[in-house]
C-alpha cells in the first residue's frame, strides 16, 4: 500500500511545515484553532458548507502533491473513504437553530448539507469520483479504520486508487466541545486532510495497546484533530523520510493501528 500524495490544511496553515513544535504551547490558551475557508468558485459551491469546501481543498492539495491531474482520478476506478468525528456539527446546529419552532428561518434546502455524506458528495461531484464509497464517523480510531477500508478496497481490486479524506471543524460548536473537555484534550485544531493511496499490501489493521510514535508526534505538533490525526501522522512520517508509517488512533477508549508504505523517492511540496 503506497502513499501517492498527502494534502493537509490545519488551523496552523498548509502542510506539515506549518505545524508548530508544540501545539499546546502555540495555542497559548486558545481552545480552538480555526481554519479559514479556502476560496471555491462556482455556483455549485454557493450552498456548500465550509466543511465541504475544506474537503475539496484537501483533495486538491493531495493531487498537487502526487503530481496527478483531476482526470487521472475521475471515474469508477477511484474509491473515496471519508471520515469525521464532528464535521457535521456546525451544519446540524445551524439547522436546529433554524427551526421555526425556535424562531429560526433556515431553509429546508439546506437539509442535505446536514448529513455527514455532504462533504464526500461534494468531493465526488467535484472530481467525478464514482468508485467505492465508504463514510465513517468517529475520532482518530476511525481515521485509522478509513485507511484500512481504503486498503481493503484496493486489495480486493474494487478500485485502482483510493482517496482517504478527513475533515474536522469545531468553531460553531465550541461551547459544546467545552463541556466535553474530559473526553478530548485541547487545543482543538480544525483540519482537513487527504491521503491518496495506490497498490496493495497488508496494512496490518489491528487493535493497538499503546500509541505509536506518530500518534504522539501528530498530537503534540497538531493538537486535537480527531479523525485527521492518523492522516497527519502519515504526512509527518513521509516528511521525515520514513519508509513506512505505522499510525495508531484512539477514540472512546479504543486504539486501532495500521501500517502504510511510503515512497522512497518523492517530489512533494
Amino acid at each position: 500500500m503506497l502513499v501517492l500524495g498527502v494534502g493537509l490544511l490545519t488551523g496552523w496553515g498548509s502542510g506539515t511545515s506549518a505545524l508548530p513544535g508544540d501545539a499546546r504551547a502555540a495555542a497559548d490558551g486558545r481552545r480552538v484553532i480555526p481554519l479559514a475557508t479556502p476560496p471555491c468558485e462556482g455556483e455549485r459551491f454557493r450552498r456548500a458548507t465550509r466543511e465541504c469546501v475544506l474537503g475539496v481543498a484537501a483533495v486538491e492539495a493531495a493531487l498537487t502533491d502526487a503530481g496527478l491531474s483531476r482526470a487521472e482520478i475521475s471515474g469508477p476506478d477511484t474509491a473515496l473513504v471519508y471520515v469525521t468525528a464532528a464535521a457535521y456539527g456546525s451544519s446540524n446546529r445551524r439547522f436546529i437553530d433554524g427551526d421555526a419552532g425556535r424562531g429560526g428561518t433556515t431553509s429546508g434546502l439546506y437539509f442535505p448539507y446536514t448529513a455527514p455524506s455532504a462533504v464526500p458528495a461534494e468531493v465526488a461531484i467535484d472530481y467525478g469520483l464514482r468508485g467505492g464509497y465508504v463514510i465513517l464517523v468517529g475520532g482518530a480510531a476511525a481515521g485509522v479504520e478509513a485507511l484500512w477500508q481504503a486498503a481493503m478496497l484496493l486489495g480486493a481490486g474494487r478500485c485502482e486508487r483510493a482517496l482517504v479524506v478527513a475533515v474536522e471543524t469545531f468553531v460553531e460548536c465550541e461551547d459544546l466541545w467545552a463541556r466535553g473537555r474530559w473526553a478530548v484534550r485541547g487545543p482543538l485544531v480544525e483540519a482537513a486532510a487527504c491521503v491518496l493511496l495506490e497498490g496493495d499490501g497488508d496494512v496490518g489493521y489491528a487493535a493497538a495497546a499503546i500509541p505509536a510514535a506518530l500518534e504522539t508526534l501528530a498530537r503534540r505538533r497538531a493538537g486535537e484533530t480527531l479523525a485527521c490525526e492518523p492522516l497527519i501522522g502519515v504526512a509527518l512520517a513521509r516528511d521525515a523520510g520514513d519508509r513506512q508509517a505505522a499510525v495508531t488512533g484512539q477514540w472512546r477508549g479504543r486504539r486501532m493501528g495500521v501500517t502504510l508504505a511510503l515512497p522512497t523517492t518523492r517530489a512533494y511540496v
Binding site: 468525528a85 446546529r93 437553530d97 421555526a100 419552532g101 442535505p112 446536514t114 448529513a115 474494487r158
Partner: protein, 398 residues
C-alpha cells in the same frame, strides 16, 4: 504481494454467515412479529405522536409506539440508542456471542446518529454526556457496551444506504481477520430534525407510500433498527443464510438526488454480483430501495433492467417501505433480513401501496398479497443522499 492480493480476493469471495438477526420496527419489536407483519400486509404508518408536527405539511410516519424500558444498566435518554438496544436484545434472544470480547466487533449504519441529543444539548444545555451523545457514533458505542463487544466499533453514515454499507464493512472485518463475530446493521429514529428536513424538501407524500405505482408521490419516514450477527462461513453455521457479495459506489452527481441514469447504483449492483460470483439468472428476488418517489423508482427500475437483462421481468421486485416508511439507516438491513426470511419461509412480502402499474416501472413488483415462491439468492439495493449507493447479494438457508 501477488499472494496477498489473491488471499484478499479469495477471502472477499468467501461468503459470510448470517447467524441471527434482531429488529425493532413499527411493525413489532422482534423478528417474527416484524416478519409476520410484512407477510400479512400490516401498515405500520400512522400519525406521529411523540413530537410536534402540526407546523409540517406531513405529520405521518412509521413511528414505534411502545418501547419497553431497558434494564437500568443501559438506561439512556437517547431514543436512537433505546431503539438500537431493543433490537440488540432481540438479536441476543436468537444467538449467543461465543467469541472473546476483543474479537467481537460492532458496525452500525445511521443517517442521523443521535442528532436529537444534539438538539437537547443545544436547547437545554445539560452536562457533557448529552453533548457527547450528539455525536453520530454514540449509539454504536452504547451497543458495544451493552453486548460486551471489545473489538472495533465503527459507525458508517452513507445516508440511507448506511445499513447496507455497514453490513459490507462488517464482512470486511471478518475477512481481514479483525474480528470473529460482527454485530452489523443500522438504525435511525424519527424526530423534528429529520421530519423538518424532508418536509421542507417536499419529499414526503400526503398520500400513502406507493413504491413503483403510477400515482406515487413521495416517501414517508419511519424509525427502526435492524441487526445481523455475522461470522465467517467457515467458522459458523448460517441458520439465516449467507452474504455472498457486497459493493458500494458514489454517484458524483448531485448532493440530494440520484444520478439520473443510475450509473452509480448500477456500478454497485454489478460489483456486488461480481463479488458474489453470480449471474443474472441466479437472482431469485430483488429487494429494491423503492422509496415511492418518482425519480428513485424509475431510476432503480432502469438499473435492474440493464443489469438483469432478459431476466429482469421474471424476478419478483419488492419494496417494504410501504409498510414501514423509509427507516433511513435501518432500511437496508431490514430489507436484507427480509430477503433471508423470504428464503427461509418460501414467501415474498408484497409491495404495500402498489396498485396501479406505471409504464416506466414495468417489472414484477409483487402486488396485492405476499407470494409463495421459493427464493434462494437475493439482491438488495440502496441509495442515499450524497450519491451513496450500496448493494448486497444474499443467499438464504443454512
Amino acid at each position: 504481494m501477488v499472494q496477498f492480493l489473491r488471499r484478499v480476493a479469495d477471502v472477499l469471495r468467501a461468503p459470510v454467515a448470517v447467524v441471527a438477526a434482531g429488529v425493532a420496527t413499527p411493525l413489532g419489536l422482534d423478528l417474527e412479529t416484524f416478519w409476520s407483519g410484512l407477510v400479512t400486509g400490516v401498515d405500520g404508518i400512522g400519525p406521529i405522536e411523540r413530537f410536534a408536527v402540526a407546523d409540517l405539511r406531513v405529520g405521518r410516519g412509521g413511528e414505534i409506539k411502545k418501547l419497553a424500558a431497558l434494564a437500568d444498566a443501559a438506561a439512556t435518554s437517547c431514543r436512537a440508542s433505546v431503539v438500537l438496544l431493543t433490537a440488540a436484545d432481540d438479536l441476543l434472544a436468537h444467538a449467543t456471542l461465543t467469541a472473546e470480547p476483543a474479537r467481537i466487533a460492532v458496525v452500525l449504519g445511521t443517517a442521523l446518529g443521535g442528532v436529537d441529543e444534539l438538539d437537547r444539548a443545544i436547547a437545554e444545555a445539560p452536562g457533557p454526556r448529552v453533548a457527547a451523545g450528539g455525536l453520530y457514533d454514540s449509539p454504536a458505542h452504547a451497543l458495544a457496551r451493552r453486548i460486551g463487544a471489545g473489538g472495533p466499533v465503527l459507525t458508517v453514515s452513507t445516508a440511507c444506504a448506511s445499513g447496507a454499507t455497514a453490513i459490507g464493512v462488517g464482512a470486511d472485518l471478518l475477512t481481514a481477520d479483525a474480528a470473529d463475530l460482527v454485530v452489523a446493521g443500522g438504525y435511525d429514529v424519527l424526530g423534528r430534525f429529520v421530519m423538518r428536513g424532508f418536509d421542507a424538501l417536499r419529499s414526503l407524500t400526503r398520500d400513502r407510500v406507493r413504491p413503483f405505482d403510477r400515482r406515487r408521490s413521495g416517501l414517508l419516514l419511519g424509525e427502526a433498527a435492524g441487526l445481523m450477527l455475522l461470522a465467517r462461513a467457515c467458522d459458523a453455521r448460517a441458520p439465516l443464510g449467507r452474504l455472498l457479495g457486497h459493493a458500494s459506489s458514489s454517484d458524483g452527481s448531485h448532493i440530494a438526488a440520484p444520478d439520473p441514469e443510475g450509473r452509480g447504483l448500477e456500478h454497485a449492483v454489478r460489483g456486488a454480483m461480481a463479488a458474489a460470483g453470480i449471474a443474472p439468472a441466479d437472482v431469485d428476488l430483488v429487494s429494491a430501495h423503492g422509496t415511492g418517489t418518482v425519480l428513485n423508482d424509475r431510476i432503480e427500475t432502469g438499473v435492474l433492467k440493464r443489469v438483469l437483462g432478459a431476466r429482469a421481468g421474471g424476478v419478483p421486485v419488492n419494496s417494504i417501505k410501504g409498510a414501514l416508511g423509509h427507516t433511513m439507516g435501518a432500511a437496508a438491513t431490514l430489507e436484507a433480513i427480509m430477503c433471508l426470511l423470504a428464503a427461509r419461509d418460501g414467501v415474498v412480502p408484497s409491495t404495500l401501496g402498489y396498485e396501479e402499474p406505471d409504464p416506466e416501472c414495468d417489472l414484477d413488483y409483487v402486488p396485492r398479497a405476499a407470494r409463495h415462491v421459493r427464493t434462494r439468492v437475493s439482491l438488495s439495493t440502496s441509495l442515499g443522499f450524497g450519491g451513496c449507493n450500496a448493494a448486497l447479494v444474499l443467499e438464504g438457508g443454512a
